[in-house]
Amino acid sequence: MLIKGTETMDSLVIAGRKFNSRLMVGTGKFSSNQAMQSAMEASGCEIVTVALRRVDINNPGDSMLQYIDRERYLLLPNTSGARDAEEAVRLARLACAAGCEPWIKLEITPDPYYLLPDPIETLKAAIILIKEGFNVLPYMPADPVLARHLEEAGCVTVMPLGAPIGTNRGMRTRDLINIIIEQANVPVVVDAGLGAPSHVAEAMEIGADAVLVNTALADTPNPALMGEAFKKGVEAGRMAYLAGLGPQRVKAQASSPLTGFLREE
């Protein structure tokens, strides 16, 4: 919880702020606002992402904000829909004008088929928004060099994708995420493609600092139960990581002794 004083030793720290939960939840694609709310509650998350869209003035509907307790959850607006840096920057400024804290999940996906993040526009937008005082959390391809650039620019996390959005295919980019985790000095949040609790456990086991899940929680008949399952997956993975997973045996393969010379006279 964001309630001060309840932080544990293993709190997630982003931009100097502590969180107990390492599971972030996306609010898209839910069958109803109630379903969204029950998934959020069951997941134990403290950070939720939201998007910005034009109101349908002929049919405004319920604002989903009334289902999100701002005392309990940090609202993290994303820039989904932006196809380039300029659009993303505009969306970020709009989010700020809506009274949100200046945290933004940068999401620039010009390709409407796979919704893959544009590395060049993302870096461009990050640089602009950081100068304007935003805490930028960039959704990005699992590219270790890009991660270094984004971190250098001042992003408060990096968010490499596990697999393309909505595919539920898990940690397809595991090898590259390993490198990103090894090299990053900011928290690494695996975002997109995580479709099962085993996937998020895997991400946490290899050392990710947090994960973001949306589709898997929305696209299920029982969002509350799934929310709880993912919560446990994240916790299990993190605990195993902290405990230190057992080694997988590796054998040396030299055909003739390499250190015999140390024993010769």
Binding site: Q183, P247, Q248, V250, A252, T259, L262
Partner: protein, 374 residues
């Protein structure tokens, strides 16, 4: 966080205690890790390592080096420009206390003659060395030499006194792409004893040198401890810690590590500990596992035989046919030398040995034209 701050997080007393706790199963476990933690690295340095564990360690180091670097060894040559020095380092032939040493700073003609000698032998990567005497061989002098030589050699590195970031920047602009700066010992208590006066007595300024170089954009930064000066185990650990810190912070820079080993009775100085061949081998292999992408450099301080045996275990750069006295390539090689070299083989001989052992000697691995600096 600077490296100095990081260093405070690993006090020597704690390291020593940890070393005393390491058991053989800890070493076994560390050997199975695909990514070493600092504690794994510490375990791999343990004196309790058995012969069969060292063989396993060597095998892994060999495999990693082959994968990352192939079967190649880059050759370089040191070129001493000056042996004048205001520091009183107790272990060094250039010490200001050494009044018997013939002091010399090369002039342009002499430098060009030495350089031609090396160029004829095939070298294209040169390491320029001086003592610490700004009025004789300071930043201006070094910059001048770099400009003099930069069109003859592909890569010019420096092993000189630590400089400010602006000075490093100047030299990068002049054509320097690498820097070597040994901390000698990371022991803050011992360091002042060994460096009682002169600019080098400033521990922190020297320690931060590689960081200033990184900020100035140097492509290659080399570090190392003079093995045997201080407590070997802690200096070995700190070297690994330093390498890891620099690699994480300066991600566009290649970090290299050297293993200068103090030999007994050098200039009358008695080293605190004698680092054995076995320990040196263990350190080289452990560092290869800790930092799979770091360059590991072996100079001609070590004997031919040992260098040949260490070849497959992680070494990526070697010097050859070296001379540690200014003007010594064309003149008297023992007149005014910093230390006595052990491997006297010519570069051509070393190339043959490398080829026989299945390694390709790389003379040139860089070109200034890539950065269009000069």
């Amino acid at each position: 966080m600077s490296f100095f701050d990081l260093l405070q997080q690993h006090p020597a007393a704690e390291l020593q205690q940890r070393f005393s706790q390491v058991e053989t199963q800890d070493i076994d476990r560390a050997l199975t890790r695909s990514k070493l933690s600092l504690d794994d690295f510490l375990c791999l340095l343990s004196p309790k390592i058995s012969d069969s564990q060292i063989e396993t360690l060597a095998g892994i180091a060999h495999r990693i080096t082959s994968q990352r670097f192939g079967r190649t060894i880059q050759l370089y040559a040191p070129l001493y420009l000056s042996n004048e020095c205001h520091n009183g380092c107790k272990y060094c032939g250039f010490s200001a206390d050494n009044h018997d040493l013939r002091r010399k700073t090369l002039n342009d003609d002499e430098i060009l003659r030495e350089a031609e000698h090396l160029h004829r032998q095939g070298f294209r990567h040169i390491l320029l060395l001086t003592g610490e005497a700004p009025e004789a061989a300071g930043v201006d002098f070094i910059e001048h030499v770099v400009r003099l030589l930069s069109n003859r050699f592909s890569s010019l590195s420096l092993e000189v006194f630590p400089m400010s970031r602006e000075e490093y920047q100047r030299l990068v602009n002049a054509g320097v792409d690498g820097l070597t700066l040994y901390q000698e010992t990371y022991d803050q208590v011992l360091y002042p004893d060994l460096h009682p006066y002169g600019p080098k007595s400033n521990f922190q300024f020297r320690l931060k040198g590689p960081e200033r170089a990184g900020e100035a954009g140097l492509r290659r930064i080399g570090i190392g401890a003079l093995l045997g000066l201080g407590d070997y185990l802690t200096d070995a650990f700190y070297t690994g810690l330093h390498a890891r810190y620099l690699m994480k912070r300066f991600w566009r820079t290649q970090v290299t590590i050297s293993f200068p080993r103090l030999r007994p009775a050098e200039g009358g100085f008695a080293p605190r500990s004698i680092v054995s061949d076995r320990q040196l081998t263990q350190l080289i292999c452990a560092l290869r596992l800790l930092a799979p992408d770091a360059g590991l450099v072996l100079s001609t301080r070590e004997s031919a035989e040992l260098r040949d045996n260490l070849l497959p275990l992680g070494i990526t750069q070697m010097s050859a046919g070296s001379c540690t006295a200014p003007g010594g390539y064309e003149g008297d090689e023992s007149d005014g030398e910093q230390f006595t070299i052990s491997d006297h083989r010519t570069p051509a001989e070393i190339c043959d040995i490398l080829a026989n052992r299945g390694y390709e000697a790389i003379w040139k691995d860089w070109d200034g034209a890539f950065t269009d600096q000069h």
